[in-house]
């Protein structure tokens, strides 16, 4: 039923990926990676994985774009070979013959596709993940889920809630440590700026 949406989205994904690989303007490449994560997140949504789509949208489209731009601000904007005057964003790079790498990639891809033939069909009720450890595992956790729609969420946020809390505390501590180290560096560089920052903090 959703084929008429899935096929254009996959085609757009492929077109975006080829563009990211071929474009020489790094700013535009960062932009296209943002488009790519938006598209893949919508595809994950159609595959009924909204939690993964949430993560992909927040990390892929939000944080990664900003991190890539921050990296880009420290590096030249264009590929060095194309720094001569030309407004073309797509340029042919002189490269070796692509036949041999293409052959290896094709063989590897065929092997991987052949490997997927042994996997159970999508949504197969007899797949190992449905019958093992035991269906009663899912059935018995139903009353413990307290209205959560997803077993994995129930396990992570309810059964293992203290684990998750501890992990969050560890990550928070690590973030504070990194921030403290970075703050010390700015102290060495400029005095007026750091004074304003520490004054604000205190």
């Amino acid at each position: 039923m959703m084929d008429f949406i899935v096929i254009p989205i996959l085609a757009l994904l492929a077109a975006t990926a080829v563009t990211v690989a071929r474009i020489r303007n790094l700013w535009a490449a960062v932009m296209f990676t943002g488009i790519y994560s938006f598209l893949s997140a919508s595809w994950m949504l159609i595959l009924d994985a909204p939690d993964v789509a949430f993560t992909e949208a927040a990390v892929g489209a939000g944080i990664t774009t900003i991190l890539m731009l921050a990296t880009l601000s420290l590096t030249p904007r264009r590929h060095r070979k194309s720094s001569r005057l030309s407004s073309e964003d797509f340029e042919e790079r002189p490269s070796k013959s692509p036949v041999f790498p293409l052959l290896i990639v094709t063989i590897t891809g065929c092997a991987l596709v052949y490997g997927t033939f042994d996997m159970p069909h999508f949504g197969d009720p007899n797949a190992p993940i449905q019958v093992y450890p035991e269906p009663s595992f899912v059935e018995k956790s139903q009353p413990d889920m307290h209205g959560l729609p997803n077993v994995v969420t129930a396990v992570l946020a309810s059964y293992r809630g203290y684990d998750t809390l501890g992990e969050t505390a560890v990550i928070f501590t690590a973030g504070i440590a990194v921030l403290l180290i970075l703050r010390k560096n700015t102290d060495d560089q400029g005095s007026s700026e750091s004074q304003s920052v520490t004054g604000e903090n205190a």
């Binding site: 959703m2 932009m31 488009i35 997140a41 939000g62 920052v197």
Partner: protein, 114 residues
């Protein structure tokens, strides 16, 4: 009577579904056009506009898919997408205006604190 009611209900449902299908196809065509503009776009501003439009159309497409599959909790995701689209757009524009994030590093920290 029940049969008639069921028939009108299914008719309504079908009409709704057709409307949603047509809407999603139109949104997909717009996404393709925006992507083409982003690929060709000679200037930065063409690309920024195309990306912004693409993100907006993604949000709309998610809403339509949510109503098509009767899972309106997808709307939360659409909200997150629009937020992410806005943040990415602001970052892209700041970068293309200043060429770096160095000046506003402190600004970002203070705005996160407040």
């Amino acid at each position: 009577m029940d049969l008639l009611l069921a028939a009108t209900e299914t008719n309504d449902l079908l009409f709704n579904d057709y409307a949603l299908v047509v809407t999603s196809v139109a949104i997909l065509v717009t996404m393709i056009l925006a992507l083409i503009r982003a690929m060709l776009g000679p200037t930065v501003f063409d690309r920024v506009l195309a990306l912004n439009m693409f993100g907006t159309k993604t949000v709309l497409l998610i809403c339509v898919i949510g109503f098509l599959t009767k899972r309106t909790d997808f709307l939360d995701l659409a909200l997150l997408y629009s937020l992410m689209n806005f943040i990415g757009m602001v970052a892209l524009l700041r970068f293309s205006e200043y060429g770096s994030f160095r000046e506003e590093g402190a600004e970002i920290g203070s705005s996160a604190k407040s």
